[in-house]
Symmetry: C2
Subunit: 321 residues, 2 copies
């Protein structure tokens, strides 16, 4: 029976149902729907992201990494909401050339991330498409009732803090496209590391948060806009990896990619000055570095300074079309 | 600016944010995620469906009808779960040729159905695709805690009941493809009518339920299988519309499409005989006809009879690939 592919029901039973085994409301993926039980203590934080082959990931990408990316871009948004991962729905549109081996690898990627992030499949849909592979994840997180974080809520005087390092993914995309050489950063682009360990610890500390998916300036700007404030960012305080710093020092034009490119999946946060110690402790407890890079003030717009001078900001963020 | 198309943020602000206006947790679609507030009394019933141009709807389909179909296939599953429509996430992958006018029409379709079914947009994603239009809806419904309906739960002696009429959509698909003439049934295929008025009224009356999306025999068979029972269906009790009856009487081979074809979006239910009056009253209150067409017994498998004789069942259900 070489080359025979499993049918839809077989595919679900063999590959996807095991991913949903520990979620009672999934009904073994044999039901019309999933049931998330009533929970008086938690709000449900919900995020949907679609990734398309050739648009959001490279056509030759490994199935495990596609699975990881599909899940992690959503997990990053849950972290920005202060929520802990809970469950997810998966909608998979498979192009005509799919193989059982591809599915097995993709599912292995999901399984590894379910374990890593403490999330479980609870339902979804699998269809055929004449187009490219398209993966949509709707992820659910939980946060104490009324305590979820949003982009609105920053106050004048709050500092802008950021986790990890910025720009690695944008430089990594240039590397993946052969425009510069950096296997380390290429991997950073291909495999996002959502800050799920930090996100839930931010509740009660930060006044607003967002994840860096569209680019630092764009996403920090979204906080300023939603909070009706102005924001000044000091470029030279933006944390760079050693590799990114080497590249930017060699070619300062790359600052545009660092500050304007997307896919970092770090968190940007508005932090009242009296919470400096708390944010450092929360970051320490989650093993993630954080540092302040700017200040919110009354007003409007995002201002970027370098060596005390105002710098013209690079193109603002990744726009999907 | 003729021919200029709005960018992603503009599109969301102008067309999608108004659909989410009445849902506070959507944050005007300016947030990283949506918040569904804690609810101690209701379980959340969740369903994801993807529809792809040229696979699940015809390439020339009107945008309003694509919107209706995307929402309604999910609403049908919520009804089968006994849940009332609550909110939904929308993931839209737009092919390169999209126009603002297409978006406006699509959104008009969503808006009409939001009003009709009492559901509201709470978030989602919009991306570009080099492939066909792909629409994924994740719909949320609410049902009293612990009272949701599933396919499992039927008992030996329960009757199989069905709502509305069966086979219209499958015959309508043949009509849409020019294989038979019936504008009435073609519309039935193009515009599903989910039984959202009936579904929530079934709680406490039926012992199991499913919607007829893959075909009557397949979906009724899913209840039998999930409930570990056998099921006998009397073909001549299956309710047909006048138009479907005319076509089937003219060409009995069409029974295969009627019983095996999908997309009816009626409900099939396991009903204990003592609940006959209750199910008729629930149906009456929702303005939908229901009738018994079979019986669950100990054992396994689905048996179809016509005029007292066992009939070989047609192909079982719509398999997506």
């Amino acid at each position: 029976m070489a080359g025979r592919r499993p049918g839809q029901f077989e595919l679900i039973a063999r590959y996807f149902a095991p991913l949903a085994k520990s979620f009672p409301g999934a009904g073994g993926l044999k039901s019309d729907n999933a049931v998330l039980p009533a929970d008086p203590r938690h709000d449900l934080v919900v995020k949907t992201d679609t990734i398309v082959e050739g648009v959001h990931f490279l056509p030759d990408e490994r199935p495990e990494l596609i699975a990881a990316k599909a899940l992690r871009v959503c997990l990053s948004d849950l972290a920005a909401g202060g929520a802990s991962p809970y469950a997810y729905q998966l909608a998979l549109a498979l192009p005509s050339g799919w193989t059982e081996r591809w599915i097995a690898d993709f599912v292995r990627g999901l399984k590894a991330d379910q374990r890593r992030y403490g999330i479980v499949l609870c339902g979804g849909d699998t269809v055929a498409t004449p187009g490219p592979l398209t993966v949509t994840v709707t992820a659910f997180g939980r946060v104490a009732h009324g305590r979820g974080l949003t982009r609105a809520g920053a106050r004048a005087g709050d500092e802008l803090w950021v986790s990890g390092t910025i720009g690695d993914a944008a430089l990594g995309l240039l590397a993946a496209r052969g425009r510069l050489a950096s296997p380390v950063l290429e991997r950073r682009y291909r495999v996002p590391q959502p800050r799920t360990a930090l996100g839930p610890r931010l509740v009660g500390i930060v006044s607003a948060a967002a994840d860096v998916s569209d680019g630092l300036l764009a996403d920090a700007g979204h906080i300023a806009e939603a909070s009706r404030l102005a924001l000044a960012i000091e470029r030279d305080r933006v944390p760079l990896s050693r590799e990114a710093r080497r590249l930017v020092e060699g070619n300062p034009a790359l600052w545009a990619a660092v500050l304007g490119g997307g896919d970092d999946y770090e968190l940007v946060m508005a932090v009242p000055p009296r919470r400096r110690k708390a944010i450092r402790e929360a970051a320490g407890a989650s093993g993630i570095d954080v540092c302040p890079i700017g200040t919110f003030t009354a007003g409007k717009g995002v201002q970027l300074t370098a060596a005390g001078r105002t710098v013209r900001p690079p193109r603002r963020g990744y726009v999907h079309f």
